[in-house]
């Protein structure tokens, strides 16, 4: 029970800090919008091409804006010695990871929803299946992004050249997430594929479970002095 309330308090801290500064979400949203606008200049999609290209474009916009946000998840803690405070507090390291995982997922999911809005508006995307399946996909994919993104964000915050290291580590790591999410999305848009929507979402779930478990086990070593 204490463990859960510890997690909740770190999440609350992250959300309050974000609501006061609005720095991360604002940058993520603007970046997401800019990407979608650049895409719309770069690709002219008719309805047929849409099925093939839209899922990839959408998830590319998602991952890039997610990385932008993840970059500040831990590096912001190093300003004003916040990290020291966090480490000195009687909270287990794994609880810090889980809390950061959840708050990152919330921020990323929020920016994804707005990007999706822009995308549907500018590209006129139509889902042939139910919306709630896509929401499920977004949640699973976003948790996947943050599962590895949170631990890599903590790693890159400890290096010189922070901003470069995170995408270098994160992009190859999220390839399974990207493939599964893009394929499942194109199924929702009515494309015929060899594997079903269920198979791809199970793959996302497996990715999430594996990397959350591994990260919980490994996170304490990152903050080790």
């Amino acid at each position: 029970m204490i463990y859960i309330s510890q997690i909740v308090s770190v999440i609350r801290k992250d959300i309050i800090a974000e609501l006061r500064t609005k720095s991360t979400i604002g940058a993520m949203l603007l970046f997401g919008l800019t990407i979608v606008v650049v895409f719309s200049f770069s690709f002219n999609l008719d309805l047929q091409e849409q099925k093939n290209l839209a899922p990839g474009l959408l998830w590319t916009a998602f991952i890039f804006s997610a990385i932008l946000g993840l970059n500040y998840s831990f590096s912001s803690e190093y300003e004003n010695g916040c990290m020291q405070g966090l480490l000195l507090s009687p909270i287990p390291r794994s609880a810090i990871y889980i809390a950061k995982l959840i708050s990152n997922s919330i921020f990323i999911l929020f920016s994804e929803l707005v990007i999706l809005g822009f995308f549907v508006w500018l590209f006129d995307v139509r889902f042939t299946m139910n919306w709630h399946w896509f929401v499920l996909l977004m949640v699973l994919g976003t948790i996947g992004f943050s599962a590895t993104g949170t631990i890599f964000s903590a790693i890159s915050a400890e290096t010189r050249m922070k901003v470069f290291i995170l995408p270098l580590l994160q992009l190859p790591m999220t390839i399974p997430v990207m493939i599964a999410a893009v394929e499942a999305t194109s199924i929702l848009l009515g494309k015929e594929t060899k594997f079903t929507f269920d198979a791809w979402s199970t793959m996302l779930l497996v990715y999430d479970v594996i990397f959350i478990t591994l990260s919980v086990m490994l996170f304490e070593y990152i903050l080790e002095e």
Binding site: I155, P176, F195, Y207, F211
Partner: protein, 227 residues
Amino acid sequence: MPRISSNVLLIIAAVLMLIAIYMVFIYAPTERTMGDIQRIFYFHVSSAWVGFFAFGVTFFYSAAFLKKKDLKWDNIAVSSAEIGLLFTTITLITGSLWARPVWGIWWTWDARLTSTLVLWLIYLSYLMLRNYIESETKRAYLSSVVGIIGFTNVFLVYFSIRWWRTQHPAPVIAGGSGSGLAPEMQLTFGFCLVAFTALYVYILSKKVEIGRAGWEIEDIYRTLDDK
């Protein structure tokens, strides 16, 4: 490692590699449809095996470092990662050289090709990461975590891409009915695997020695600074 056993490793690796080259180019028969280009297969698969094995070693010693917190394990992990990267590079290049005449293309987004490329990218960023961390202990901790997560990911990458598309020739050995190599080819292939593994062990022992020599030099500098 003492000098003598290192020299023994060198001799074993050198002799095995020379025999391997002889077997690949002279002993093994020419393949009927592909011709001489098929001979690249012996070195291609052997390098792929060594690359993957080396990353496995990195995974193992990264975990060992996190458990024992002794930098010598980290030294082995990073040495093996560098060699793995080298052999994975060889795999990608020889594969491309083979694919051009046989498939008519240099590259295709097939499961094995793509996961090898991703493996290559992950360990390149692993080595990059190490360059950007000043403290030696910190470097060891952070890169060990990446070494473990990265290796685990390779399996998921492989399965996700396999579902996505596949073009790589099915395993020729033990790949079900209709597969199989001529006995001479099989012998050459097996021999190449052993020779490449011996080469790997020798290079690894040298790399680990260099890492240790680096620490000794640092110690000497430190004592000089104290004086």
